[in-house]
Structures are given as structure tokens and as C-alpha cells.
Symmetry: C2
Subunit: 347 residues, 2 copies
DNA sequence: TGATGTAGTGCATACGAATACATGATTTCG
DNA sequence: CGAAATCATGTATTCGTATGCACTACATCA
């Protein structure tokens, strides 16, 4: 009698168990537990009996069953391009904070910039395990997203202006304008007149935009850029290191200042150039983008362009929840966040 | 007729829809789609008709409904203490890789070392949204975990030797032994004989263990430690900076070498000491713990003790899946991973 | 050739909670 | 004081899938 199968997992109590103990019906239990969300009244006596029974049994609602019935999961997902990139940490934390206030869970995934992982993520979406998704699409196209959006009945919000889908909201830092301003600042305030650029392959989202802002400023100022001083990386520190080595290989003389597409690569560039004997910023100045925490760890500290990533995260989450609460919202809504130059030692 | 409510979300097709289109019953569809997991046979003709119907409708199984029926979610969760600490990134990635191979999703959460968040996480567990959990408990006690374990019918695996629960598997890096070896190495190989220690409050898990290993080596070598050279932080870079300032305040003369409980704090210590005019390692040597990527960014590069975090992550995931597959496993199984000294410039 | 398998399929039900509807008890008001 | 309104609760059904069981058709064997 006592020695039942201890190995067998104990079954969780259900609303029926609570109802039986309290001497009421299962729906009554449901109504007591959701009384804030339902208009139905429950007598104080019944409520108390139910609550006592809940406490006695240690009852927890089964989230799966509830989700099946309500068609809501209480979860949103967040796809970041690189979990090791601190830029996304702040965003993730902000998203989680907003979600926590609404009793939502956040499912964080990591694509490592890999297309198939982004696709996999979108597929999970279409199986309806989450009520909505925030993503940072690097490879996913409007077409891909369109397919998933019509399958999934969940809204999508993206970080990055390049997604043009007519029914996906976009939050972005205005990096094109920021690059433009930064280039002018480097010339006018800092006095640099010869630049190099460490970017990413053309088709990767932030690349073309940041390049355009940069190029526009240079054009207006009547400055050109030597093609040998343009190299590409892959957003990571090793990518930056490789890019720096490529620069050195291409020409023993380096440009006076380097714009690097993001901070991680900028750090890689600095470390490699220093190892090769160049002084930063005396021989080569370096400016990055993102203002990640590591930018204050490198020496010299990294001059960079800050996206207000906390704000980005909060907006992303808020915009998504608006859509979740009100599925009738349509259209491509745009939310812009300004960027800001953070002058430090490297440029 | 065509202009139905476009605003209304389209309903996903269900197995019934597929069944109707294929001219079979719903269970048959289920059997076709799960044929690898079920012993039942299906004729080739029927299978093809069903698959065609699936393709035509773009059917996706509803994961929620399946979970309710099977009592499995296909998700595990991972609670890390600090999402900004790179040490956990490698673990997260390793866990995700193992999970991916088994078609499991990983729900990453972040406690920020906050007790209430750890509790919240455990509660989610007990509502059965995941099939198992990996966690890095900082504040959670054996008692807490015991409560949740008996509520949840899901196994728990933890990182960190301090959890002694008789039914929770433990994976850990052998940091006590590593600190012991590192202390001997600092004395015998590097020649330091006067040490300071930057730790964390006594009750926080890795603290006492790492301290014990360190202390044991010093005792054996007949070296003492000046109480003024012992300060505490909170695992973070700002925590390390504050600790360094406390050290300087306590005595203008600093110890010859500093053991710091983890790399993030070690970096904070280095940056602050440098700003205060101390040369690393000439005035003060610093050794950290974890071997996070940032340890190669600081200058001087950080001498540290490496945990094989990829291995830790893989083990954690594998151990968890073993338990998920075989709920009859009981007991506290221990899995140890060795640590390794990584000599760099800071000590 | 009738008893016995076996492959292929449908029927009914269960998972746990939420909700439309029905019902009985109580109050309200003309 | 009787009809209608209101309150409190129960009954029945639903969400989408998996699975035990029943059933048919056909093959197998003695």
C-alpha cells in the first residue's frame, strides 16, 4: 500500500482533483483561478474552499492544456544572430524585462548567422509554440518571412530596416545617419582624411546601410577611399583579426583611420594591428559600432557608435505585445532609434 | 465570398483536414506522420495519399496538442546565472547543439544571480512546460530544488558540486583541485609568495570551494594571507572594479599577486589597478578563472584557469537526456571535468 | 475448409483547462 | 406577490493529437 512504484513519476493534480476536494465542479475551479480575467462572479465561500484545496494539493495549472484551449502560449521567442555578441545581451535583457511584466516567457534562440538555423526558428514559429517572435534576420528574406507569416498565426517584429514586408513591424537604430555623422565627425573634429573600411559581405543587412552613410559623407567632403583599404569580415573578433591581416597584406601602408562595421571586429582589428607593431590611434585610428561592454576593455578604449540597445529591446517587445494584444494591427510600422557617437581613445 | 475577414487570422489545418482530403481517418494521418515511432503498418498507397494531402495543405503538427497528449514538450530549459558572462555562452551553445540533434528546443533563461528569478524559473518547471532542466543554481538550495522536483515530473541537472540533492545529477569542473594546483604553480613556477584574494560572499557556490583549494595550497607551502588582501565582489566587471578600489583603500601597498574568483572580476581588477597606476604583472600579478574570450582582449592578457565549458555543456545535456529517456535512473550522479591553467601575461 | 493470424484501418477516448449554455436559487421591482 | 432580472454554479463541449481497442479483409496452416 505504501510501497507503490516510487519510480513512477507522481501525477500532478488537475482541476478535477481540486474540484473534488473542494466539493465543486471543475469549471468553478477554473473560474476562481481566473477570476480577474472573467466576468463571472464566485461566492466568497466557494472561492475560499477552492483556494484551500489548491493549496492543500499544491495544484499548478497545466500550461500546455491551457494553451491548447486558449490558443495562447504565454511565450514569445527571440532569435539573435550571435549569442556571444554582447550587443544582443542588452536587447535580450530588455525584452525579458518587458515580457516578465506581462507574465510572458522568452525563448531565446541563436542562429550564429546561419541561414538554416534562421529557417528552423521560423518553422518552430509556424507550429505555434509561441504567441509572437522578435528576430534579427541576417539571411532571411521578405519572401521567407512571408511564407512563415501566412503559416503561423503569430506576429513577427524584426530588428533591422532591411525587412520590407508589408505586415512586419520594424525597429531599427538609424545606423545610416549615424555613420554619416560619424564620418563627418572624424573629418571635421578629429581631422582624419584618409579612411579604410572593414565591412561584411554586401548582402548582409547592416552592411550596405552603414556603408552608404559613410560613403555619402565622404563624397560630400570630396574624399575618396582607396579600394585596397576596403576589406570584409564576418562580425566576429576572429573575423576582424583576419580582416586586419588582409589589410596588412594588401599594402604595407595603412589608412590613417579605419571604420569597422561593428565593435567585435573592431577589437579584432585593434589587437591584430597592435601585434603587428602599429600604434592605435597614432598610426591608425579605429572606430567601431555598437558600444558593447568589451569596447571599454580594450586598450586603447574603443571609440564607437552606440545604439541604444536597451531602448531597441524595449521597443521590440512593446511593439510585439501590441500586435499580440491587437491582431487587427496591420501594415509595416517603423520605429527608429537614434545612434550616438561615443568618443574614446581609439579615434 | 472572397472578402472574408482578412483581419481574422487564418486557422491552421489540422489532422482532420488532412484526413478528409486524403479520404482517411484522423488517426491514420497521425500514424503516417509518426510511423517511425509506432509499430503499426500503413500501406504505401495510403501513406502517399496522406503525404500528398499534408503537402497540399501545408500542414504542420500542432506541438501544443501533441504535448498535451504525449506529456512531452520537446523542450528543455537552461537557466544561466548571467547571460552577459561569456562563460555561459559556450555552455549554452553546447547544450543547444546536443538538443538540436535530438530535435529538442532549448529555452534559455537568465537569473542575473537573483534568487527570485531562480525561483520563478523553477516554478515554470513545475508547470511542466519542459521535459527537463539544466540549471546553474547560485542561491537555490537543496530544499528549494527538492520541492520543485517533487512537483515537477521532470529531471533536473545542475552545474556545480554544491548541490547535494540525492536525486539530482551534478556536472562540475573540479575547481577546488584547480585552485590548489594554480596556487602551487604561482609559487613554484612563477615565484610569487604574497597573495590577495578577490572572492564572492561565503554562501555563493563557487566561492568556498575555490577558496579552500587556494587555502590548502598556501597552508601546505607555509604561506599566510593578510586579511586586508581579501575582498569580495559579485562576479561582474564592475564588481571587480569595486573590489580593486577597496583593496587600494585598505592599504596603499598591494599584494604581489591576486587570485580572482572569475575572469570578469579579474578584468575589472586589472583595469582599475592600471588606472590607479599599478603595472600588471610587474607590480601586481593577476590570475582569473573561466578563460572567457575577453581574457585575451585585456592587456596584459589574462592568465587564468580554464574550465572546458564546451565539455561541461555537452555533459550537462547528455546527462539530462539520459534521464529524460530513462526516468528510472535515480541517485546523485557526479560528472567531473578537469580544469587547466592557461598561462598568459598577467601572472 | 474452417480455425487462426496478421496487416491495415476506423472508432472512441483521453490529455487538462476554458467557455457557451443551461439551470436552480435568490433578489428586485412593478 | 408574481414575473423578471441577477447571481452562482453545473453540464456539455472544445482545442488537436495519440493510442487502446475493435473490426474487416485477406493470407496461412492443418
Amino acid at each position: 500500500m505504501t510501497a507503490e512504484k516510487t519510480l513512477k513519476r507522481l501525477k500532478q493534480p488537475t482541476m478535477y482533483d481540486v474540484a473534488k476536494l473542494a466539493g465543486v465542479s471543475q469549471p468553478t475551479v477554473s473560474r476562481v483561478l481566473n477570476h480577474n480575467k472573467t466576468a463571472v462572479q464566485i461566492s466568497a465561500a466557494t472561492r475560499q474552499r477552492v483556494l484551500d484545496a489548491v493549496a492543500e494539493l499544491g495544484y499548478h495549472p497545466n500550461v500546455i492544456a491551457r494553451s491548447l484551449r486558449t490558443q495562447r502560449t504565454g511565450m514569445i521567442s527571440l532569435l539573435v544572430a550571435d549569442i556571444t555578441n554582447s550587443f544582443y545581451h542588452v536587447i535580450a535583457r530588455a525584452v525579458q524585462d518587458v515580457a516578465r511584466q506581462r507574465d510572458y516567457e522568452v525563448l531565446i534562440s541563436n542562429s550564429d548567422h546561419i541561414y538554416s538555423r534562421e529557417m528552423h526558428f521560423a518553422e518552430v514559429l509556424s507550429k505555434r509554440v509561441v504567441d509572437g517572435a522578435i528576430l534579427v534576420p541576417i539571411h532571411l528574406t521578405d519572401q521567407d518571412l512571408d511564407g512563415f507569416l501566412s503559416l503561423a498565426n503569430a506576429p513577427i517584429v524584426v530588428l533591422g530596416q532591411h525587412i520590407q514586408h508589408p505586415n512586419i513591424d520594424v525597429v531599427y537604430g538609424d545606423d545610416e545617419a549615424a555613420m554619416y555623422e560619424a564620418a563627418r565627425w572624424m573629418v571635421n573634429e578629429r581631422g582624419y582624411r584618409e579612411f579604410g573600411f572593414v565591412g561584411v559581405p554586401e548582402d548582409l543587412p547592416p552592411g550596405p546601410r552603414r556603408w552608404r552613410g559613410f560613403k555619402r559623407a565622404l563624397d560630400e567632403l570630396g574624399l575618396g577611399i582607396d579600394p585596397r583599404f576596403m576589406v570584409m569580415g564576418d562580425f566576429t573578433i576572429p573575423g576582424g583579426e583576419e580582416a586586419a591581416r588582409a589589410l596588412i597584406r594588401a599594402s604595407k601602408r595603412l589608412p590613417r583611420a579605419l571604420f569597422v562595421l561593428n565593435d567585435l571586429m573592431a577589437i579584432g582589428v585593434i589587437l591584430t594591428l597592435q601585434d603587428a607593431g602599429y600604434r592605435i590611434p597614432d598610426d591608425v585610428a579605429v572606430i567601431g559600432f555598437d558600444n558593447i561592454p568589451e569596447s571599454t576593455i580594450v586598450r586603447p578604449t574603443l571609440t564607437t557608435i552606440a545604439q541604444d540597445s536597451h531602448d531597441l529591446g524595449v521597443r521590440l517587445a512593446e511593439v510585439l505585445f501590441e500586435r499580440i494584444d491587437n491582431p487587427n494591427i496591420t501594415g509595416r510600422r517603423l520605429f527608429r532609434t537614434a545612434c550616438q557617437i561615443i568618443p574614446r581613445q581609439s579615434a
